[in-house]
């Protein structure tokens, strides 16, 4: 038996198929994950993401601490209350302990990390907190609901109080705001517009039921995975881990080197890689238009190159109707590659790792 979110009983009652995910009993789907996926691309879908770990960082040194702890620079959030930043939290050898989102809440910060990495994340954060005047406080009492899709914001506004609806109207992309017990962020993991809302378990159950009544489809982790893959978004443990540099996981833009006085953890090994001509592999997208499904772990070979690569995430793309993947490959790769697929070798197209955004195909 795993941990249960506040919404567990609602998932069961709705026929959710519950599976273990990072120690939590979470719905993988409520019937058809492809239908759930389409609902998010075409209208709006509702996800329970209460398993994510919310950590508040407060105290006089909160900013200085996060500037040390994170590869991206929270100074980029200065004078922008509510603004969020995506970052890697690196180890001393420049590998990724976790990827996370940090919100500037005007004097303190809220960090959202992955659930499967919770224990090591908190341990790491606490270890480094001892050098600073900060408090690192987990907020396990908070549930989190993601509402995603072209109709998501309208649906949430209709279910919210007047003040909350107004706050959402003023909310810019990648920003969060606290309002009447909800922490509302215009973020997500699907490539669609939408919100992620942190709130008490009781309030979460109420909002969930209101949204379902308003026609927003409950969606499981299965659809969440195909949506994020189509959007070309990384999944910790697939596109990066402690042995992977963010430089080979399309996270170069999150490495803030502009302040050369800022000695964040993992900086030196990243600068070494850059000084030595950059990494020799990179993360790309793969597209296979013939029948079959690309899967994580399959080898990717490049004609005329001895080095091979590997698929880090692969699936069928419900929006596109064929298979797509993210793969780490030799940096010299061209426009095509070969993948060894169950007893046969197939040609695949190599593309930028972004396949669908706002309902539109990019490949």
């Amino acid at each position: 038996m795993g941990h249960k979110t506040a919404l567990y009983d609602l998932h069961k009652a709705a026929g959710g198929k519950l599976v273990d995910f990072g120690g939590w009993d979470m719905p993988i789907n409520y019937g058809s994950q492809i239908e759930e996926h389409h609902q998010v691309r075409r209208a709006a879908g509702l996800f329970d993401v209460s398993h994510m770990t919310v950590v508040d960082v407060t105290g006089a040194d909160a900013r200085a601490y996060l500037r040390k702890l994170l590869a991206n620079d929270v100074a980029r959030l200065d004078d922008k209350p509510g603004k969020a930043l995506y970052s890697g939290m690196l180890n001393t050898s420049g590998g990724v302990i976790d990827d996370l989102i940090v919100y500037n809440l005007d004097g303190w910060y809220r960090v959202v990390v992955n659930c499967a990495t919770r224990d090591k994340d908190l341990k790491w954060m606490n270890e480094h907190a001892s050098e600073f005047d900060v408090s690192v406080t987990e907020r396990p009492e908070l549930a989190m609901i993601a509402v995603q899709g072209p109709e998501a914001i309208d649906k949430v506004q209709a279910a919210a109080s007047n003040a909350q609806a107004e706050a959402i109207s003023n909310l810019k992309v990648f920003c969060g705001v606290e309002c009447e017990g909800w922490f509302i962020a215009r973020t997500g993991y699907t490539g669609e517009d939408g919100l992620e809302i942190m709130l008490s378990g009781d309030a979460a159950c109420q909002l969930w039921q209101t949204l379902v009544k308003a026609g927003v489809a409950p969606c499981g982790l299965g659809a969440r995975d195909t949506l994020r893959l189509e959007a070309g978004m990384n999944l910790y443990g697939h596109e990066m881990d402690e042995t992977t540099s963010p430089l080979v996981a399309n996270m170069g833009w999150t490495i803030a080197l502009e302040d050369d006085q800022r000695d964040f953890i993992g900086r030196a090994p990243l600068e070494d890689i850059k000084a030595n001509g950059g990494p020799d592999t990179k993360l790309v997208g793969l597209v296979m238009r013939e029948r079959g499904v690309l899967r994580a772990g399959q080898a990717v070979s490049v004609v005329g190159n001895d080095a091979s690569g590997m698929i880090t995430s692969g699936s069928f793309s419900p929006t596109l109707g064929f298979s797509i993947a993210l793969a780490r490959v030799p940096g010299t790769i061209g426009d095509t590659a070969e993948v060894n697929l169950r007893n046969k070798t197939v040609n695949v197209e190599v593309v930028k790792p972004s396949f669908v955004r706002h309902g539109e195909a990019l490949v």
Binding site: K17, I28, N29, S32, Q33, I34, G222, T226, R291, G292, V293, R295, S315, F316, P318, R342
Partner: protein, 130 residues
């Protein structure tokens, strides 16, 4: 609770076999199998006219989640395949025992099915898995 039809025979690898009135055998995957696989996106059936052997690989079913080999419950010649699955693989999820069938075999020895599981035996096999 998954649907297990009394009149069918099953393999522990979750294929079902139905002996038709004309003595041919229709093959598909069980309700439990389609539920475990999740949304089916491709089905690779054997070719009409090819031979399949009892217990050997005869095709592949790919879902969003995983690929899974399909084993034939009987030896014989493939006399029909469900071409509708090419455009509508979701029939495997929606109707695993009827519209979602995979292929039909003209068996060389129907007694091969004596070794397959009946509905109760298959129910036990599923419960032992969980």
């Amino acid at each position: 609770m998954s649907d297990i039809r009394k009149e069918l025979k099953y393999l522990p690898s979750h294929e079902w076999a139905r002996v038709e009135e004309d003595g041919t055998v229709t093959v598909g995957i069980s309700d439990h199998a389609q539920d475990s696989l999740g949304d089916v996106v491709y089905v690779e059936t054997p070719e009409v006219g090819s031979n399949v052997a009892a217990g050997e690989e005869a095709g592949v079913v790919e879902s969003v989640k995983a690929a899974s080999d399909i084993y034939s419950p009987v030896t014989g010649e493939v006399i029909a395949v469900n071409e509708a699955l090419e455009d509508s693989p979701e029939q495997v999820n929606e109707s695993p025992y009827d519209d979602g069938w995979f292929f039909k075999v003209k068996p060389t020895d129907l007694s091969e099915l004596d070794d397959a599981l009946d509905a109760d035996g298959y129910q036990n096999a599923i419960e032992a898995e969980d």
